[in-house]
Subunit: 181 residues, 2 copies
């Protein structure tokens, strides 16, 4: 709810009183629940990425095969993006409004999530199913997913699973080793 | 300069007086030059995308081969992203602050740029070098590039050309037709 307000009006354009009114709490009660507006922004920006990291580690355990694991990571990522559109848009737009440890915390979780994908690609390289790629490739491939928060329509014709199938197919083909590699 | 201010403080967090002071004009002179702050935002959001569209059409004429054309489009796109980081960040964050024809104009140019890539892929499919992909694939592939505005460092170790080489390699492999397709 606060995420939708921030997404619509910008973090600087929304006051705690407005968030309180929209949530049904008064400003005083809201301040009691959250120490500051920045805490609220931190909560918005950290919930979906901590879910991605936590579930990502579980997917690593569940899928030893790098290709199957990328498909599972892809499916889960598109599902989270689709169900957390406002939160992700706010995080992209406003992450620089977070300061100190709140900012570091969010950036560290994004780096940890990226490592889950990098490690999967590295395992595929060791197993000779993927070719070795520059480490910037994983940033590009994840960007393909995260950028979708700007065009994805939750009620669109294609489900997150459909989109994930198209994207994971592109990702796996872009990495797959070929006879001449 | 206004783009950097908007990128740093958010569109709603910057007044025309501040832009005037930073640019060396007074507020009055600045209002004389630009009708409103929204015109300034429109100018920021439309300059790089109109360059991409214009140069994109030239690249289409210059490179009839779909693979060579994708490489040229990729190289040009990463160069523009790298040289227009503040403008692109502002466009992503604040495009919803544009209203009416200003908003439509920017969105139409983005759609036109996407068509240049789609058309190139379609030509590759006709020439049997690319496989047919769902039309959402081009959104994903372009997202790979545009999302880089969030992590790209203009003074980073890898040049825009280096990054483009990694990305266009991923793109072309993800689309290339294989014996079993």
């Amino acid at each position: 709810m606060a995420a939708s307000l921030f997404a619509e009006k910008g973090y600087n354009g929304v006051g705690v009183a407005e968030i309180g009114a929209a949530s049904g709490f008064g400003r005083g009660t809201l301040y009691h629940h959250i120490e500051s507006k920045e805490d609220l922004l931190h909560e918005i920006a950290s919930t979906y990425i901590s879910d991605l990291v936590h579930s990502g580690h579980n997917i690593v355990k569940e899928y030893p095969d790098p290709i199957q694991r990328l498909k599972a990571l892809s499916r889960h990522l598109m599902t989270v993006i689709s169900s957390s559109l406002a939160e992700i848009v706010v995080c992209f737009r406003e992450v620089q409004s977070l300061t100190g440890s709140r900012h570091d915390d969010v950036m560290c979780m994004h780096a940890e999530y990226q490592k889950i994908w990098s490690k999967t690609i590295d395992e595929g390289v060791k197993q000779n199913v993927f070719r070795a790629v520059d480490k910037i490739a994983v940033k590009g491939l994840l960007g393909m997913y995260f950028y979708s928060c700007l065009w994805l329509k939750p009620d669109g014709l294609q489900s997150p699973a459909d989109i994930s199938d198209v994207f994971s197919d592109l990702v796996i083909r872009s990495l797959s080793k070929r006879p001449n590699d």
